[in-house]
């Protein structure tokens, strides 16, 4: 049996980093006892596990994290996410409360504990992975915290030593109005407040949900979740930093390294990746700068918006330019043609200004200039819906982002009508989608409506399979699918599933 001495790894890590981190001081080479369901993962595991356990547990947790990520990408509400995740968690990473009196409590908690640390090792290598891991682990922690038994949760929080200072009656009276306004509290009765350095609750500060006075944040009791979660994230981020600096030593272990590498790779492949096949569209001749105007009718709303803004103003602000340039690159516009496209589009600009201030960015996006890594990677990847949906909202004068998210409902409907979408029922449903923040559901709905006849046709004659029509999660996929559907039967158009039967080409 492939028994692996996990503590060996740990010993190495401690040799590097433990001298200043008291979290490691408690580590003992034995089975740990888990008093609580929740875990801040301050203490690394120390007992031995098999190599098989090592891998299986990690994969189970990875499954959970991937599903969580999918939820956030689909803009599920916290309630929807909790519901959706219940069965997945039960299957892959069950974690019951003490009151369940289950026999396997300790086993479950051990698996939770170990799998967290294994993934920590696997995902600490790059900043990107660390950030993603930290975000998803935080989501998981939050989910579990909310569903925990109230009494056990309270006991757990008490063990954390979070050093919250209670706000006294005198201060409460002094700031009564401010506290109520900041905390959005209607009735002032019996509300308890904690006072902490504002840095402890950056989320609440960012959303202006706490009263601030001279560097202290006054946090209402009910925001305890935020505090506990923020502290969790903070400690995890610090630990990940330390791990990342200790990790080179781990590479020496030739049994763990391949597993860790494999784990991080399977995590790296995002669900909405741009594939270069999106750029190769049969039947679409080489795209020139001059063709963009006519192709724009096949663009998703986000890109149509950028295109029409560009045409209207002869200009686009930076983030809009970036989003649009990458999209154009993604549909197969060459660097040379792309430069021509922008040069002609910025009608009011002098050549000199264009050369100096804009050309570099375009070349950079294509990987024509920039550092080694930029060139090697051929510049930036075209943005996925996820990327576009999670960017900061556009400021005044800016046009980037997803219109389903950034436009007011009225402006969105006006814009959709301008692109020829007038079906009242559809617009109503789109409004509902947008209200529920299901932006990409709305976009897919509009796509299906606009291509209703073509989709029916390819389904009926079996030329496209279900895979060819699954949910669109990338603007470039939108374009490719739209173009192909609208050119069914155009001579040599190679339809995704093959087949070039005579088609009723739709007028656009």
């Amino acid at each position: 049996m492939n028994r692996h001495d996990y503590s060996r790894v740990d010993a190495k890590r401690r040799a590097n980093i433990s001298h200043n981190k008291k979290q490691f001081a408690k580590a003992e080479f034995q089975q740990q006892k888990y008093d609580y369901r929740l875990n801040y993962y301050d203490v690394p595991p120390t007992a031995e596990i098999t190599l098989e356990e090592f891998e299986t547990w990690a994969i189970n947790r990875l499954k959970v994290l991937s599903e969580l990520e999918a939820c956030s990408f689909r803009n599920r509400s916290p309630e929807e996410t909790a519901e959706y995740m219940t069965s997945i968690l039960n299957k892959h990473l069950p974690l019951r409360s003490n009151s369940s009196r289950s026999q396997s409590l300790q086993e479950e908690r051990k698996k939770d504990h170990y799998s967290h640390f294994i993934l920590r090792l696997a995902f600490s290598s790059t900043e990107d992975l660390r950030r993603r891991f930290s975000r998803l682990e935080t989501m998981l922690f939050r989910l579990r915290f909310k569903s925990d038994d109230l009494k056990e949760r309270k006991d757990f929080v008490n063990t954390l030593n979070l050093e919250w200072e209670e706000v006294g009656d005198e201060e409460k009276a002094e700031f009564r109005k401010d506290l109520a306004a900041a905390g959005n509290i209607k009735k002032e009765d019996d509300q308890e407040w904690f006072k902490v350095d504002w840095e402890r609750v950056p989320e609440l500060v960012e959303q202006r949900r706490v009263f601030l006075k001279r560097g202290k944040a006054y946090v209402p009791q009910r925001e305890q979740l935020s505090l506990v979660v923020a502290e969790y994230t903070k400690r995890l981020d610090e630990a990940l930093e330390l791990t990342s600096r200790a990790i080179p030593r781990l590479d020496e272990d030739d049994r763990l390294a391949p597993i860790l590498a494999h784990l991080s790779q399977s995590f790296t492949a995002p669900d909405a990746a741009y594939t270069s096949s999106d750029a190769s569209i049969d039947g679409l001749s080489t795209i020139t700068a001059g063709a963009i105007d006519s192709l724009a009718s096949n663009f998703p709303l986000c890109m149509q918006n950028l295109h029409s803004t560009l045409r209207a103003n002869s200009h686009l602000k930076h983030y809009g330019r970036l989003q649009y340039t990458l999209f154009l690159k993604g549909i197969g516009l060459s660097l040379e043609e792309c430069i021509i496209f922008w040069r002609r589009s910025f009608k009011l600009m002098t050549d000199d200004k264009f050369q100096k201030e804009y050309k570099y960015n375009i070349r950079h996006s294509y990987g024509d200039v920039g550092g080694d890594s930029n060139r090697r990677g051929r510049g930036y990847t075209p943005y996925s819906c996820q990327k576009i949906l999670t960017e900061p909202l556009p400021g005044p004068g800016q046009m980037h982002g997803c219109p389903y998210r950034t436009f007011t409902q009225d402006n969105l409907i006006t814009m959709l009508q301008r692109t020829g979408i007038n079906d009242r029922d559809l617009l109503k449903t789109v409004k509902e989608d947008v209200t529920k923040q299901r932006y990409h559901v709305a976009c897919n709905r509009v796509f299906e409506h606009a291509h209703k006849r073509e989709i029916k046709k390819v389904k009926d004659d079996g030329t496209w399979g279900a895979n060819d029509l699954d949910t669109i999660v990338h603007p470039n996929t939108y374009f490719k699918r739209s173009w192909l559907l609208k050119h069914l039967g155009d001579g040599n158009v190679g339809v995704v599933g093959g087949g070039t039967g005579p088609g009723d080409r739709m007028e656009e």
């Binding site: 306004a181 959005n184 601030l212 570099y360 920039g370 005044p396 004068g397 402006n411």
Partner: protein, 507 residues
């Protein structure tokens, strides 16, 4: 991990190094300027609007070439290199290399700049590991410059006469040595002032007096309002004390929050502050830009109180934002169809009514148009939102959110206007006149025209800047820096006692 640093970088880590060790810095042949022009770093025109090319500047740390200081053989004392007076004629312009060189030699307050970034008089890593980025006259952009002392910074400025330079974060190791580190990951930004950038471009949709790069006293009011609102929030809410406001040289202002607590903030905390202060959301298609819940958060309530007055004068009277058919936008922001119809009718019949009258028409007509107290409350809130939309600071928030963002140094010359980026005293922000800020040519003339006593007995030799209208600004900066250094000394001693060691030791 000290073992991962190559030997030739160690001198820079030693805060006690002296001038005599300067020659251990790698030097490059003089041909470097030719090379630099081919560097594929962003052109300075892009860098001017750092906000628009953030991603390009920071996504690839490797994209710019490294050019070590060419360590010119100047004498090390500032006073010793006093140049011959330069002739300024009516034809001289500020971009003239001689003018710029004279500016760096005679006027730029390197000493205080050093103390400001170093937080003490003894050279330390706070200064030595700080990134500077130079924009050279040939438009090349040099990142990752660093200097052990003020004097070496000055020398490179005099030699390369950058049209301006920017200041970035303090790194874990000397930025010039970042390539020689065995592991690139040990080269990390550690600290930097929390910075803010307010630029008039973000006001273009509501500014009526000027367009593009030009400004006048009317539209400068936008910046004045922004400084007032942000400054008080940073002090009263976040507890920051050392906030340096700097005129950007043309149509905006920067803030540098220098408190240690601010410098040590990670990106998440910077984002939190930026988010707290940010209010206007949505692009031009987003409709209403202010959507805040009631009751107003104390910060917004205070801001509204500050801004109300400015709204009456700076907006209604001076900008007259709803002249003629532009009142359409005002109508869009108001609730209640009856009221809107009544207003529309009134304004259609006299479109030339000034904005101030239109604003008061709202309340006048509301008396008969609105019957419920709920409707009146909605109107009041909509009016508050409008005041905020037209007056609340429009921050370029991206600049504030990143620890490793660079920002133009105080006291450099704005290449477009020739004006010095002077500090603004937030206590007298109303008095600040951007059009009265001295230009570099004007200052050099003032030195030549100065007729005072050069050296008084037993006193220190007079600095050139003291002979010019730059003096009050340098004096202000000096006092600001002294306050910061003093506080730093206090907390430094306290920390040492509490922790018994340098926390940076861990890395």
């Amino acid at each position: 991990m000290p073992h991962s640093i190559t030997p030739d970088s160690t001198p820079a880590d030693d805060s006690s190094r002296t001038i005599s060790q300067v020659d251990t810095i790698k030097s490059e042949p003089d041909t470097q300027t030719q090379d630099i022009s081919m560097a594929d770093a962003p052109s300075p025109a892009e860098a001017d609007e750092t906000k628009v090319n953030l991603e390009d500047l920071f996504d690839d740390e490797d994209s710019d070439q490294e050019f070590a200081s060419s360590a010119p053989q100047f004498k090390s004392e500032e006073e010793a290199s006093q140049p011959a007076p330069i002739k300024i004629t009516s034809k001289s312009t500020f971009s003239d290399p001689d003018i710029m060189r004279a500016f760096y030699q005679r006027l730029f307050p390197f000493r205080y700049l050093f103390q400001w970034l170093n937080h003490s008089a003894t050279p330390s890593n706070d200064f030595a590991h700080r990134e500077f980025a130079f924009t050279l006259p040939n438009d090349a952009y040099l990142r990752y410059q660093s200097f052990p002392t003020a004097d070496l910074l000055r020398k490179q400025c005099v030699q390369q006469i950058p049209s301006r330079f920017e200041i970035g974060p303090v790194y874990s190791t000397n930025p010039r040595d970042r390539k020689s580190l065995r592991k690139a990951s040990t080269f990390r930004p550690l600290t930097k002032e929390l910075v803010f950038d307010i630029d008039m471009t973000d006001y273009d949709d509501i500014r009526t007096c000027c367009t593009g790069a030009s400004i006048c006293h009317k539209c400068w009011a936008f910046i004045t309002m922004a400084i007032k609102v942000i400054d008080v929030a940073l002090r009263d809410d976040f507890g920051f004390k050392h906030i340096l406001w700097v005129y950007s040289g043309r149509r905006g202002a920067h803030a540098w929050v220098c408190d240690k607590r601010a410098r040590e903030m990670d990106d998440a905390k910077r984002r939190a502050v930026a988010g707290y202060l940010e209010l206007l959301k949505g692009g031009d298609q987003g409709g209403k830009k202010v959507n805040v819940r009631r009751p107003l958060h104390p910060h917004l309530d205070r801001s509204l109180n500050i801004l109300k007055e400015h709204f009456q004068t700076s907006i209604l009277l001076e900008q007259d934002p709803w002249a003629e058919e532009k009142c359409e936008h005002l109508l869009n922001l108001l609730p209640d169809a009856t009221l809107k119809a009544a207003l529309q009718k009134k304004w259609d019949s006299s479109p030339s009514r000034p904005s101030a009258s239109k604003w008061s028409d709202i309340d006048t007509l509301a008396k008969s148009a609105l019957s419920t107290s709920k409707a009146s409350k909605e109107l009041l809130e909509a009016k508050q939102d409008i005041v905020l939309e037209y007056t609340y600071p429009r921050l370029d928030a991206e600049v504030s959110k990143k620890l490793n963002h660079l920002l133009k140094s105080p006291f450099v010359i704005h290449p477009g206007t020739g004006r010095v980026c002077v500090p603004i005293d937030p206590r007298k922000v109303e008095e600040f006149d951007p059009l009265g800020v001295p230009t570099v040519t004007q200052l050099l003339n003032e030195i030549d025209e100065w007729e005072g006593e050069e050296v008084k007995k037993g006193e220190k030799k007079m600095q050139d800047w003291e002979k010019t209208s730059l003096k009050p600004y340098v004096d202000f900066f000096r006092v600001f820096v002294a306050g910061l250094v003093k506080e730093e000394k206090k907390t430094g001693i306290k920390r040492e006692r509490e922790e018994g060691g340098d926390p940076m030791e861990l890395f």
